[in-house]
C-alpha cells in the first residue's frame, strides 16, 4: 500500500490536543506515521481533518435489525441505491440494507460502528451481517442483563464465576462489551410482565435490577473489559423515569475507579423524562446533567430525536409493547430463550407533538448542559430516534444556536414555552464536535487506535470541506450540514474509500472482540456449563459457539483479566 500525505488541513485531534492547527498527516501501511516519502498527496487546505467517526451505539446488524427490514418494505422503496461499478445495490431510509449501511456511514466520514444489541443465541446472524457491512470496523455487544446464567450467579453473589461466564460469552459470541437492557425486565417479559423499578425483584429469579447492574459492573472490572457496562435503563420511555436513571448511576458510584468510568448510559434522552404522565411530561435534562457534571464515573450518549418516520427497535420487549399500544402501528416481538427479548414498532416523531418536541429538546439539552464533552456522545440510537444519516443535522444543531432556533420556531408551542433549550447559548466548537463524534467515543470504547491521529493510530481519517478560518460556522449551519453530509475524503486503513461523498473503493472492515485471558481455574467452567446448557437451550453447546471463521476479518483484542 502506497503512502498518503494529507496536506495543510485544519486538524482536529482532541486526544492529542490538536485543535484546528494547520498541519500534515502522513499515512503508511494503514497507519498514521511520522512521515512518508513519495506519497500520494491530498490537498486538504481549507478543509477540516478529523479522525474517522466512531459510533458507540447504532443498530446496524443482526436478528432484530433484519426483522425491522423485513417488516417495512414501505420504508425502503422510496430510498434506493442502484449498483455502481464499485458498489452493491441496496435500500436505505431508516433500516438500510447491509451494504448501504456501510457506504452511507463511510460517506459521512464514519469508520467504526458498534452494534449494541446482540442476542448471544443469534450471534452468528449478527456476524454474518457485519461481514456484509463494508467500509467500517465494527463490534457487537452481547445482551446479558436478563441472561439466566448471569442472574443465577449474581443472585448467589458468585462474581468470579459470573466473570468467567462472561469471559466465555465474549469468546463464544465474539462479543465486545457487556450490554444490559432493562435489567431483569426482559426475563419478566417472557411471561408478559416487567419490573417496575430498580428494586423490583425479577419474577422467579429473586434478584433486583440494582443487583444485576452492580454485579455486572463488578464483573466488567474484574475482566478489565475495554468498555464499561453499556446500560439501557429500566423504565425507559416512561414519564418520571429520570429517577430510575439517577438511581442506576448512583448504584455504581462506589465502583468507579480513578481512571475509568463505571457505566455508560445509552440513548440517555429516552431515560431523562420527568412528570407523572404524558400530560405533565417534561424534560429531566437538568437533573441528569447536574448529576453527571458532579460525578466522573458516567459517560452517556444522547440518542437525539429526529423529526421523521423511523423504526424503533430495542431489546426492551415490554417498552416496545407500550409503543405498539400507543401508536397502533405494526409490532414485532421476538423473545430469545434464556437471554433476552426484542421489539420493533415503526414510529413517526412529529414536530407538533408536545411529547416528541420535548424529546427533541432533551437530547440537545443533555449534550449542551453536560460541560465535559468527553462524557457525552452524539448518537441517534440509530434507528430508534432517527437514522444515522441525520448526524450532519445534529452537528449543526450543536454548533449553531441559529440552527436550533430554526427548529424551535416550528415545534409544538407548549414545548417551545416549557423547554429550557431556547435559553441555552452554548455552541460547540469543531474541537468539541470531534470529541463527541469520535475521540470521546473511541476513548469510552477503549479502542486505542481509533478516534485520534497520533503516530501508530489506524489511518481512518475524515476530511470535510469546511473552512473555520473563513466562515463563522455558527452563522452558517447549512454549510456545516453540507460538509458533514458528504465527506470530501474518507480514508479507511490508509486507503481513499470516499471522495466528494462518493464511494470510490469498497473495503471490508474488521470485527473487534474481547479475547479475555482469565486464569486457568476460571476457564474450567466449560464442563459445568455444558451440563446445564441443554436444559437451558434448544441448541447444542457446540453449535452455539461462533467459530473464528464467522468473522471475515476478526480482530481479537487480547485482555488480561484480574481473575
Amino acid at each position: 500500500m502506497g503512502g498518503l500525505l494529507v496536506k495543510n488541513g485544519f486538524v482536529y485531534d482532541p486526544l492529542n490536543n490538536i485543535n484546528g492547527e494547520k498541519m500534515d498527516i502522513a499515512v503508511l501501511d494503514g497507519k498514521i506515521v511520522e512521515k512518508t516519502r513519495n506519497a500520494k498527496v491530498i490537498d486538504a487546505s481549507g478543509m477540516v481533518v478529523m479522525p474517522g467517526g466512531v459510533d458507540i451505539h447504532s443498530h446496524i446488524a443482526g436478528s432484530k435489525v433484519n426483522s425491522g427490514r423485513l417488516l417495512r418494505p414501505e420504508d425502503h422503496y422510496k430510498d434506493v441505491e442502484a449498483r455502481t461499478a464499485k458498489t452493491r445495490s441496496g435500500v436505505g431510509y431508516s433500516i438500510p440494507s447491509t451494504f448501504t449501511t456501510g457506504y452511507r456511514y463511510s460517506r459521512l466520514g464514519w469508520t467504526t460502528v458498534m452494534e449494541p444489541a446482540m442476542p448471544p443465541l443469534k450471534a452468528k446472524h449478527t456476524h454474518e451481517e457485519l461481514n456484509d457491512t463494508p467500509m467500517i470496523d465494527k463490534g457487537a455487544f452481547p445482551l446479558l442483563g436478563s441472561n439466566w446464567f448471569v442472574l443465577e450467579h449474581l443472585r448467589a453473589k458468585e462474581y468470579e464465576e459470573c466473570a468467567a461466564y462472561v469471559a466465555w460469552m465474549m469468546r463464544a459470541t465474539k462479543g465486545y462489551a457487556i450490554k444490559i437492557v432493562n435489567p431483569g425486565g426482559l426475563e419478566a417479559w417472557g411471561f408478559g410482565r416487567n419490573v417496575r423499578d430498580i428494586d423490583d425483584p425479577v419474577p422467579n429469579f429473586d434478584i433486583t435490577p440494582r443487583e444485576i447492574v452492580q454485579g455486572l459492573c463488578k464483573v466488567n472490572q474484574l475482566l478489565n473489559l475495554p468498555h464499561t457496562i453499556h446500560v439501557h435503563t429500566n423504565n425507559l420511555g416512561k414519564p418520571g423515569n429520570y429517577i430510575t436513571t439517577l438511581e442506576t448511576m448512583k448504584c455504581v458510584e462506589n465502583l468507579a475507579t480513578e481512571v475509568n468510568p463505571a457505566i455508560h448510559l445509552t440513548h440517555c434522552q429516552f431515560s431523562a423524562f420527568a412528570g407523572n404522565n404524558w400530560r405533565t411530561f417534561r424534560s429531566a435534562s437538568e437533573e441528569i446533567s447536574e448529576y453527571v457534571n458532579s460525578h466522573s464515573h458516567v459517560t452517556l450518549d444522547i440518542g437525539q430525536i429526529i423529526f421523521t418516520n423511523t423504526t424503533t427497535m430495542t431489546a426492551d420487549g415490554p417498552f416496545q409493547f407500550i409503543l405498539y399500544q400507543i401508536t397502533g402501528n405494526k409490532w414485532v416481538n421476538n423473545d430469545v430463550e434464556t437471554e433476552t427479548s426484542s421489539g420493533i414498532v415503526p414510529f413517526r416523531y412529529k414536530r407538533k407533538s408536545y411529547v416528541h418536541a420535548i424529546q427533541w429538546t432533551v437530547g440537545l439539552e443533555l449534550a449542551l448542559k453536560i460541560k465535559d464533552p468527553w462524557k457525552t456522545f452524539l448518537t441517534t440510537d440509530h434507528p430508534n430516534a432517527g437514522p444515522f444519516m441525520a448526524y450532519p443535522k445534529i452537528i449543526a444543531w450543536l454548533m449553531s444556536q441559529k440552527a436550533r432556533d430554526a427548529v424551535i420556531s416550528k415545534i409544538s408551542r407548549k414545548a417551545r414555552h416549557k423547554a429550557s433549550l431556547p435559553s441555552i447559548d452554548r455552541e460547540f466548537t469543531l474541537h468539541e464536535i470531534a470529541v463527541v463524534t469520535r475521540a470521546g467515543q473511541a476513548k469510552a470504547l477503549g479502542l486505542k487506535n481509533k478516534g485520534h491521529l497520533g503516530i501508530g493510530a489506524d489511518a481512518d481519517i475524515a476530511i470535510y470541506n469546511l473552512n473555520p478560518e473563513k466562515t463563522n460556522l455558527a452563522k452558517e449551519p447549512a454549510m456545516i450540514r453540507q460538509a458533514f453530509k458528504n465527506a470530501a475524503y474518507t480514508i479507511k486503513d490508509g486507503e481513499i474509500v470516499v471522495k466528494n461523498g462518493e464511494v470510490v473503493k469498497s473495503v471490508n472492515g474488521k470485527t473487534y472482540w474481547a479475547d479475555l485471558k482469565a486464569s486457568q481455574s476460571l476457564l474450567e467452567i466449560e464442563p459445568e456449563l455444558q451440563k446445564v446448557f441443554e436444559e437451558y437451550y434448544t441448541v447444542k453447546y457446540e453449535n452455539y459457539l461462533v467459530p473464528n471463521h464467522y468473522l471475515s476479518i476478526g480482530a481479537p483484542i487480547q485482555i488480561q483479566t484480574k481473575v
Partner: protein, 273 residues
C-alpha cells in the same frame, strides 16, 4: 398537445414505462419525448424503440393528451404519478396503471392489470373491461391505499379492491372477488354485481355497497338496520339494503350495505334488529 403512441414491437418481458405520463411529455419536443428512457426487462431502451410516436396536430388542447394503441398488457406504470392531462389506451394495459396519480384522466378501452390506481390521490381512471387485483390498493407494508379520486371498472375486478382505502370512490359494474374493501378506513366502494366472501374484512371505516349477491357475511359484522337506499358520493342507490357494521374484530365502524332482495339467506339476521 396530443401524442399518439403505437406499440411496434411484440413484447416478451415486462416494460417499465413510468415516463408515459402527460406531465413528463409536457414542454418537450417530439424528439425529446422519443428519447425518454424506459426499461425492457433489464435493458434500458428509448421510448421510440418500442413505440412509434406521432403528434396529432389537429387536436391542440392546452393539456397534454396521450393516445396509446397496441397490446400494452406488459407495459407497466403508465400514468404513474400523473397530475393532469389525459391518457387513453386502445387495448389492454399492464400493472400499476395510474399508480399514485394526482389528477387528470386515464381511459382504457380494454383490460387493466393489478394495482390499477394504487395509492392514488386524485383524478379518474376508467376501465371499459376487467381489472386485476388490488385496485386502489397500497404498496406492500404501507397503510396508504387510495386517498382520493375515482376508479370506475365496467367489468369485473379481482381480490382486495380498495385495500387500505382512505378516501375516494371505486365503482365496479361487474363482480368482485374476495375481500372487497379490506382494511378500508374511509371512502366508498360500489359493487353493482356480486361479491365473493369476506367483504369488508378488517375495515374500520368507509362504505361498501353491494347491489347484488354476496356469498357470505363475516361473523365479525353486526346487523344495524334495513335501509331503503344507500348513498355513494351524492348518488342515491335504490335498495332495500341490509346495513351491517364492522369489522368488529378491529373495533371497526365501517358500513357494509348488502342488497336485501338478492340475499334472502340473510333474513335470519333480522331477528337481531
Amino acid at each position: 398537445m396530443t401524442l399518439k403512441l403505437q406499440l411496434i414491437k411484440e413484447l416478451r418481458v415486462p416494460i417499465d414505462a413510468g415516463c408515459i405520463c402527460p406531465d413528463t411529455f409536457a414542454g418537450k419536443s417530439l424528439n425529446e419525448i422519443a428519447e425518454l428512457q424506459i426499461w425492457e426487462g433489464n435493458r434500458k431502451r428509448l421510448l421510440n424503440s418500442l413505440f412509434e410516436l406521432k403528434e396529432d396536430s389537429q387536436e391542440t388542447p392546452d393539456e397534454t393528451n396521450i393516445h396509446l394503441t397496441g397490446n400494452l398488457s406488459r407495459v407497466q406504470r403508465i400514468g404513474a404519478g400523473m397530475k393532469g392531462g389525459e391518457i387513453t389506451v386502445q387495448g389492454d394495459v399492464g400493472m400499476h396503471l395510474g399508480e399514485k396519480m394526482l389528477g387528470g384522466t386515464i381511459m382504457v378501452e380494454g383490460n387493466a392489470g393489478s394495482w390499477t390506481g394504487s395509492a392514488m390521490k386524485g383524478g379518474t381512471i376508467i376501465v371499459k373491461k376487467n381489472a386485476g387485483d388490488y385496485i386502489g390498493g397500497a404498496y406492500r407494508g404501507s397503510t396508504k391505499g387510495m386517498q382520493g379520486g375515482t376508479i370506475i371498472i365496467h367489468g369485473d375486478a379481482g381480490t382486495e379492491v380498495g385495500c387500505y382505502m382512505r378516501n375516494g370512490l371505486i365503482k365496479i359494474q361487474g363482480n368482485v372477488a374476495q375481500f372487497v374493501g379490506i382494511r378500508m378506513r374511509n371512502g366508498t366502494i360500489v359493487v353493482q354485481g356480486s361479491a365473493a366472501e369476506r367483504a369488508g374484512a378488517f375495515m374500520t371505516g368507509g362504505k361498501i355497497i353491494i347491489c347484488n349477491n354476496v356469498t357470505s357475511i363475516l361473523p365479525s359484522f353486526s346487523i344495524d338496520s334495513i335501509k331503503s337506499k344507500a348513498k355513494a358520493e351524492g348518488e342515491a342507490i335504490k335498495g332495500p339494503f341490509y346495513l351491517f357494521i364492522g369489522d368488529l374484530a378491529d373495533h371497526g365502524n365501517g358500513k357494509l350495505y348488502v342488497s336485501k332482495n338478492k340475499n334472502e339467506y340473510l333474513k335470519s339476521f333480522e331477528e337481531f334488529l
